[in-house]
Amino acid sequence: MNAVAAIVRANLRRLVNDRGNIFFLIILPLLIVFALGSAIGSSESDVVIGVVDPAPSKLSATVGRTLAASEGITLENVSDAGSLRRRVSRGEFNAGYVVSASGAVTTITWVSGLDTRGIAMQGSMQSVVQTVAAHEQVIGALDASAGLTRQRATAVVDGLTGVPAVRVSSTTVGGDETSAESIRAVLAGGELTLFMFLSALFGSQALLMSRLLGVTRRTSAAPVSVRSIVIGEAVSRYIVAMLQGLIIIVGTMVLFGVDWHSPLAVLALSAAMALVGTGAAMLLGTFGRSEQQVGALALLVGLVFAALGGSMQPLEFFPQGMRQVAFAITPHAWMNDGLWKILVDGAGLRDVLPAVGVLTGVGVVLLAIASRALARRLV
């Protein structure tokens, strides 16, 4: 056991001595969670509409007020139509409108780009415009059909009581709305999965260099069994993966107030995912040929699995077929699905045990294959 501990200590000392690792293990994941939270968290929760209204009239002001009173809609004034178009194109606004007046008629020109929520907002805008216009339109129509002055028509319409009307009511059915806090927590969860696996995979470079430089072979010349060397290398990778997980969990809790709901369940998933990362890293470090090749493969596999496994976009928003593919080929999908259950549905340890089981199984199989291969190369 002393030999295993010595190998682990040496590997961890190498990790700590390299200052670049502070960036990759601590700063980078937290920077991404911060950037994702502020970029996507807010864009998921609010629809932002740009408004160009250089000379607001009573009607256009009422339209703006009515729209701004709707839940989840924010209005922002823009100086000119060109600037509005550019900002809609860039995605700063979901959509926007330009108010212009010609005689007695006010025209609102709707500007939307490729944003689906912006396109859909046109329906809401239509209803707001029609509602605001209804009173004025009736007065205008009376003016036209009955030849009344505007003042008289207004008096007649305002004097009407008990006019029947079509009423509209709106209810929400189904599950609770995913709050902005939950979205931020899910995004942090996706990064947790991505970085645990990626950091473990990059650890394969250290194993490869130990192999290529003959460190592992020289160690086996000492009175240290091959089994101890393999266990030492595996434990080192596992500790790095768990360390990465803990940094993200604690860092996002302290810095961004992410509520992980059931820390025990999150830790169980992380422990199982670390095992998968360890197995994959041992496999890559054992079969890799050069540092550049292993680095490139780690980046490729780490990012592609993260994308397909729901770390860059929650699995809930995947097309059905791709969801099945994600579970079939990536461990990330199992962990991210478990995290969604914990963070959004309020699940606990018992609910995520199947995912923990699958991840542990995959990790053990990968580790067994890699350990045998590494042991064979050392003998």
């Binding site: 809401s124 605001v132 009423r167 209810t171 709305e177 592609v304 791709m322």
Partner: protein, 391 residues
């Protein structure tokens, strides 16, 4: 000049044979573009499925919805309407996710103006399908407003004794009178430009990996110095020629990577980039900016490991801030300002301007900013990198 091209040719051949450059420059970004495009297919398309449950006996609201409102929604491709005979079947469809929202008409208020009741509308929607819910809500309110203003007009005319026969069965025709007297109207403006989701993914990944790809040329300086081949090379050519050759390798690798990725995205993934000349200008200026960045990093680093690590950090930070993975346009004041300091932002800004109906000249301003970045970073970069060209 011949010496520069000789070194360049030899280096480029070596880099292209080395699978890691191809892996980082083409395979990895392509795999990510495909993966992200596949999962992006599930984000809400603009045509949303809505359910409609009519009242047991026809109401004015039903007439209005089926004769005018729904056909317009279908024609605009805003929604697809499925009619359900009872609410239970519609609720099941909503629960299964087959529809986003239900517009249910109830018999509701009797109409004093005619035998057909006005009706009332109840909208039920799934909170996770907010777009469909917003459309259904908007449709319901707009329909109600239209009918209510007609009813109010009728009531006013009846009060004045000037209106049409109160029992006029063609009452819906009155909406035409209202439509002819607009006081405020909504019209469709020309659509703004912008990059489709797949185009955004392709551009984001291509620019993100560009900063890793270009390092394969210049990083060779430090590797060759360590291996001792640089000293032998300097016996035959000047340091300036070596540096120029390495810069050229980085630049050409970047051009190859960007061209292959954008071409594949255009041909096979339906990405749309606008004017070809404009895109070519942006690619050249974007690759120049990336090469300038790596020159500065290599110049400041002492070992290949240090340079590789620092370049990865720079590439990651610039990529995240530049919106390679997700747009920073909505990330608050800090994000909006920070993103404009990255080449990634100006590259995609150029493409946005090209897709917004612009000719190739629309890309000139962003391209000029990319060149400014190249000069600001590249000049000190080349000066310090020259120090690395020593035995």
């Amino acid at each position: 000049m011949r010496a520069v091209f000789d070194i360049f040719r030899r280096d480029l051949r070596a880099r292209l044979r080395d699978r890691s450059a191809v892996l980082i420059g083409v395979v990895a970004p392509l795999a990510l573009i495909i993966a992200l495009s596949l999962i992006a297919g599930g984000t809400s398309p603009s045509t949303r499925p809505l359910g409609y449950v009519p009242a047991p006996s026809t109401t004015v609201t039903d007439q209005m919805l089926t004769s005018a409102v729904f056909p317009a929604l279908v024609a605009q491709k805003t929604a697809e309407i499925t009619t359900f005979t009872d609410m239970a079947a519609a609720a099941r469809a909503l629960d299964d996710g087959a529809i986003d929202a239900i517009i249910q008409v109830r018999a509701g208020t009797p109409d004093p103006n005619g035998p057909v009741p006005l009706g009332s509308i109840e909208v039920s929607h799934d909170p996770s399908a907010s777009v469909g819910g917003a459309i259904a809500d908007g449709v319901a309110k707009a329909t109600a407003s239209q009918i209510n203003s007609t009813v109010t007009l009728l009531a006013a005319e009846r009060r004045l004794g000037t209106g049409p026969d109160a029992a006029d069965p063609q009452r819906l025709a009155l909406t035409r009178i209202l439509a002819q007297t607009p006081v405020i109207q909504l019209e469709d403006g020309p659509a703004a430009g912008g990059l489709s989701t797949k185009t955004q993914i392709a551009v984001g990944m291509a620019t993100f990996f560009l900063f890793f790809t270009v390092q394969f040329g210049l990083l060779g300086l430090l590797q060759e110095r360590r291996e001792g081949t640089l000293a032998r090379l300097l016996a035959a050519v000047t340091p300036r020629q070596v540096l120029m050759a390495k810069l050229l390798v980085s630049f050409v690798l970047g051009i190859i990577s960007m061209s292959v990725l954008l071409l594949v995205a255009r041909l096979f993934l339906g990405a749309h980039f606008g004017s070809l000349i404009g895109v070519a200008i942006l690619v050249v200026c974007g690759v120049a900016a990336a090469t300038a960045t790596v020159a500065l990093v290599v110049g400041l680093a002492r070992t290949p490991e240090q340079a590789g690590l620092a370049q990865s950090m720079v590439a990651l930070v610039l990529g995240i801030l530049g919106g390679a993975f997700f747009s920073m346009a909505r990330a608050g004041a800090f994000g909006r300002i920070a993103t404009t300091f990255t080449p990634h932002y100006w590259f995609s800004e150029g493409l946005i301007r090209l897709t917004d109906g612009g000719s190739w000249t629309a890309a000139l301003q962003p391209a000029a900013i990319l060149l400014l970045f190249t000069a600001v970073v590249g000049v000190p970069g080349v000066l310090v990198a020259r120090r690395s060209v020593r035995p």
